[in-house]
Each structure stands twice: as C-alpha cells, then as structure tokens.
Amino acid sequence: MIYTAGIDVGSTYVKAIILNENGDLVGSAIHSTGFLIEETSKNMLEEARERAGINSADIGCITTAGFGRSMVSFRNTQVTDLIAQSWGVRALYPATHTIIDIGGQTMKAIRLDDGGRVMNFRLNDKCAAGSGTFLEKTAHYLGYGIEEIAPLVERSTKAVPISGICAVFAESEVINHISQGEKPEDIMHGAMLSLTERSVSLMKQVQMQPEFTLVGGIMRFPVMARVLRESLGGAANVPPENLAQFTGAIGAALLARRHLEKKTD
C-alpha cells in the first residue's frame, strides 16, 4: 500500500499526519516548532511513520503546508494553509462553509464555496491580541501555565471585560484587573471572550455561512470551543480530541494523495 504524508509547519507547532490509501489516519505526531524547522519536521514525520508501522519507502508523497511549508527540503509538494485546511476540514465535515483557525500566532477565517474552494479569507491584523499567544501571555501574567488555562476558566462565574484591540492595551488592562482584586479565572475568561469576539468579527468579514468548523491549536481547550460555539449561536463543528490541531496536516496528506493520483493519470 502507498501512504501519503502531510506536514503542517505552523508558527508554534509542527504537525505530521500519515494517511493510507483509504484516507484513514494511521499515524500522527506533533512538536513545538522551534528554530530547527527542517529537523523538527523530519522528526515528526519519522515519529508518525513509526506509529503507523510503515517504512519510509511506503510513503509515496509528502506535502507540506503552513508558514514553513517551503523550508522543508524533503517535501514533494507544498500547499497553502488555506487549501490544506479546506481539504482537511471538508474531509471531516463536508458541509463546512466557514472555517476559523486560531493558532499560536495567527487567526484565519476561511470561507469556502459549495465545492470546497477558497472563496475568501482574512487574517487577523498583526497585533498579538488576536492569537493564541494572547491567552498564553494572560495566563502568564496571572501566574498560570498554558495547560492550566482550561481548568481555570471552567471555574469562572463571570467574565471581566477586556477590550483587546491591542495586545499592549489588553495587557495593561489585565494587570489593572489583577490589582483591582478580580479573580484570575474571571480575567482569563474575559481574555478568552475578547479573543472570541475577534474571531467572530473575522468570520463576519468573510461573510460567514454555516456550517462553521473551528480548528487550530486553541481548540484543544474545550472551554474555548464552547465559548466560541455559544457566540456563534450554538452550532459549530469542532473536530474531536486533538484532531482540531491536525486538520491542516490531514488536508496536506489528502492533497498529497491527489498529487499521486494526478501523476498516475
């Protein structure tokens, strides 16, 4: 059997996926990106391959996506995150018309047409208040680690308003709330709401249409997915477990398959 691999080289994490001919996921791996992009990508591919229990020679095509897509020399093809995401998400939720992808450094809203082609997209502006890093920084100010964000927000009973138009302003607001004696969980909840508002605004800018699918590293916090889903009026797909982080890589692996098929045609 010939397998295909997709590597999503994101700004914060590198994600690798291996699919078999039927499109079943047989191996995956994830690691923070760091500076050695090529090496990390290689390691992740190896790790995913080992998990799949296959040989290197079984992989017929490697497709990369993400900001570091062109920095991986052993790739066979590369695609943009937008196309990779649209393929990955559509494979899981074929009726998706709008994707919001919130990663460490960027937030993307992607609007697809009925056939799954990218019609429109928007990236958040350069300010860090519109990405996962903002939550991480807020947690840091409050003296918590990234993985503590979810349980912390679960405890919150109200959200402290944080405007979040700009990371610098938002940070000073957070510090001010701390000094005013607000509870850390409520501040964190506020930060999450501010991020949610930004994502909804970005989705509106691409003239969002249901179904909505929420992906990206930030969706590994169930509470974020819940808050975002609520502000979208209840209905939105979120890939189960940690798949939300892997949709780009899945899409890349599917595109690798298409590449192979085109070649044999």
Binding site: I165, F169, S172, S201, K204, Q205
Partner: protein, 441 residues
C-alpha cells in the same frame, strides 16, 4: 406631498410626541426641584435647563423618526451651511451628534463593531465608524434614523467627511453636495471665498430639486439672522466661564451644545439659550460654582471623551479642579460676527471657511493663549484624540509652548472621542493624579 402625510407627521410629532416629551420634562423638572442636593457630590447639581436640553434633543430625533414621507431629510456635517437647507424645510440629521449620543450611551463600540465586521479599519474616525455601523445594521440608541434624501458634507472640519459621506452616498444612493472649504494656513484668499460662495450658490438648485421647493430668500435671511443671535448667546454663555468660581464647566458646555450645532436658526433655540444664560447668571449671582470648592481652573482642548464624562468630571471635581473653558465648544461661537444676513451667500462663504479646525495650528495656539488669559487658567488638558487628526496634530508643540510661555502644566491625554478601547481608567487616573499634583495647592 399628500395632506395625510402632513397630518400624520404633525399628529405623531407636534401633538402626541411633543406632548409626551413635555410631560416627561415637567416631571423631571419637578423631581429636580424637590430633590435634595447630594452632599457627597463634588460638582454642582445639573443646570435646571438640562431637562429642556433633553426635551429639545428628544423632539429633534422624534421629528426625524416621523419625518418620512412628509419631510425631506438631509444628513449634514457639523460645519455644513445648514441655513439653506433649513430655509427649504429639510429635517437635519447630524451623524456626528448621533455618534456622540452613541458614545455617551456606550453603544458606540457595538455599533462601530458592525462597520469593523464589514471590513472597515479600527483606524478610521470612530464617529464615521459608528455611523457606517448604524447605516449597515440599523442599530442606534435613538430608535430609528431617518434615511437621507440628500447629503451635505463640508470639509471645514476635516477631510474625513469626504470619504465618510462618500460611503453614505454610495450606500443610500442619494445626491451628495460637497462644499469644499480650502484650509486657511495664514488668511483666506479672495479666490477661496469666491470658490466657497460659488459652491453654495450651486448647491441651491440641487437642494431645491430634492426639496421640491424654491428657496425663499427671506426665509434664508431669517435663518441666518436667528443663527447669529443663537451663536451670540452661546458666546455670552461661554464667556461667563471667566467668573470665579466658574458657573458652568466645559462638561456642561458639551452637554448643552447640541442645540447650537443641530438646531441653530430656530426661534426655540434662541429661547433656550436665553433661558440658559439667565440660569448661569443666577448661579453667578449666588456664587454657585460648577465644581464645589473650586481650586484650579483648566482649559480642555479637542472633542470630549463622550464615554468617560462622569469619570473625568468626578475625578477632577474631587480635587476642586474645573474645566472652565474649551476650544471645542468655542468653535460654534467664534464665527457669529462673520454672519451678515443681508449678504447670505458671501458672509456664509466667509464664516464657513473660518472654523478653528479649518485654520492653522498657530491660530489654535493663539486661541488657547487668549483663553488662558481671559479665563485665568491654571493648566491645560489636551485630549489627543486618535479619531480626530485635524484637531490633534500640533498639540504636542502647542503643549510645549503653552507650558513654557505661561509656566503652567499641560497634559496630553491619549484617548478617542467615541471608542472606549483606547482608554483605561487606571492609566488615566494615574496620569490625572500626577497632573493635579503638578497644578499645586
């Protein structure tokens, strides 16, 4: 025009609406009369005229709400030559004033968010963003806005109105009259005055076409005459701020300026300001200050921060600091002497060329110097308003010069007139406390 339309309009506004609003005003006046003065407040109780201001604004918006189809509606900039439109019977709607109402009622963030969702940058003027958001979504804190039949934009306050009204013209598909007023760096050239006059004259047939009436020159003169009287009264009122303690603060001026902007030229506006002047004089006679225990007097430069009114007035009032004058409210008074009802077009051309915002940074500096002297001021707060570049550029040098010339402290306060996202109470409190300390005992 159908008779039933007219009838419906008058019944809804003048008969039912105005009566309800009047009852509301009388009730609130009665409440004020019997209300005990709050001992914990640092400021004087609101002027009694306040309930009438509210009544006037409420009536104005009510008229707008029921204007169609009986009356034609014009959306205009704050510096637009409205006398012509008034004389043609248009109902005037001021998007800037609506923006201020959204700011005060703290709905601006949500409404301007609608514009941002449609792709408008948060870096454009927050009045414009709020207005665009309102036009796109229909959201407003005043019920419903009357859609325009015509737009009149005058560049004497900024170039932003050019792009803003360009959006409105595109969105509502109605004619836009542009009155372009060349910026005055030193003095107005003859060809500038001629240019504005020609544009005013050319505007008449367009406005007449929309109104379905011809301009009655007597009416035009009458509106100009009444505008001038109202502006003179407003100038008198502002001048009373020179008394010690100052009877009305800039915060009061901001609240009570709506009629001079939106309703100048009408008899009831003259009556209103005459009554206000009386009340202010009564305060002077009784030695009532806008701030109890007035200690220091300040000049406010630029637009108000509409969404932080109470916070600012209380923070300052607590320390006996009063805003005795503002360059902003002065802008609707200083043009009065230029208006000559006998030469409606020529004098309007001259007057509408000369608002402070259409003149150089040096002119504003001189105005501030005059005000510091006239009102015996101890310091200046320059609101650096990211939504108003024409007003704000120059403030950094003006601040340095005023501090060195008069030896008084001056504070540059970064904020936005409508968008609350650029303001944090904590940061501002720290700044204001340091500034108040600098003012000394």
């Amino acid at each position: 025009m159908r008779l039933t339309d007219a009838l419906r309009y008058y019944v809804n506004t003048r008969v039912m609406g105005w009566t309800a609003i009047r009852v509301n005003r009388l009730y609130s006046e009665m409440k004020t009369r019997f209300r005990k003065e709050r001992k914990d407040s640092y400021t004087a109780p609101p002027l009694r005229i306040s309930s009438r201001t509210k009544e006037m604004i409420a009536r104005h918006y009510l008229d707008g709400r029921f204007a169609k189809p009986y009356r034609k509606v014009a959306w205009v900039t704050s510096g637009a030559p409205v006398e012509i439109l008034n004389a043609l019977g248009f109902h005037l709607f001021y998007p800037e004033n609506h923006g201020a109402i959204c700011g005060v009622s703290r709905t601006a963030e949500e409404i301007s968010g609608e514009a941002e969702d449609a792709g408008y940058s948060p870096d454009i003027c927050s009045y414009a963003r709020t207005d665009i958001g309102s036009a796109l979504s229909g959201k407003t804190p005043v019920g419903k806005l009357p859609p325009p039949d015509i737009l009149v934009a005058c560049t004497n306050i900024c170039q932003t109105v050019l792009y803003w009204y360009g959006f409105l013209a595109h969105h509502f598909k109605v004619p836009l009259i542009l009155i372009d007023t060349p910026f005055i760096y030193t003095e107005a050239s003859d060809h500038s005055i001629e240019y504005v006059k020609k544009q005013l004259e050319a505007a008449v047939p367009i406005a007449e076409g929309v109104a379905g009436k011809t301009l009655d020159e007597r009416k035009l003169k009458d509106f100009m005459y009444k505008s001038r009287i109202a502006m003179d009264l407003w100038m008198e009122i502002l001048g009373r701020g020179a008394h010690r303690p100052t009877p009305i603060s800039a915060f009061d001026q901001f609240i009570h300026m709506a009629p001079i902007v939106e309703m100048r030229g009408h008899s009831h506006t003259i009556d209103f300001y005459a009554a206000m002047l009386k009340e202010v004089d009564r305060r002077i006679a009784h030695g009532i200050g806008a701030v109890k225990n007035e200690r220091k007097r300040l000049l406010w430069d630029n637009l108000p921060i509409w969404h932080k009114f109470r916070f600012l007035s209380e923070t300052l009032g607590k320390h006996g600091v009063v805003l005795a004058a503002s360059t902003y409210t002065n802008a609707w008074a200083e043009l009065a002497p230029m208006i000559d009802p006998e030469k409606p077009f020529e004098s309007a051309a001259r007057a509408y060329l000369h608002p402070m915002l259409n003149r150089g940074a040096g002119h504003k500096l001189n105005t501030m110097r005059r005000m510091i002297e006239k009102y015996s001021l101890d310091g200046v707060i320059l609101h650096s308003d990211r939504s108003c570049k024409p007003y704000s550029i120059g403030q950094m040098d003006q601040r340095t010069l005023l501090m060195s010339e008069y030896g008084i402290p001056a504070l540059l306060l970064e904020a936005d007139h409508c968008d609350p996202r650029y303001f944090t109470d904590a940061r501002t409190t720290t700044l204001l406390m340091a500034f108040i300390e600098m003012l000394g005992q």
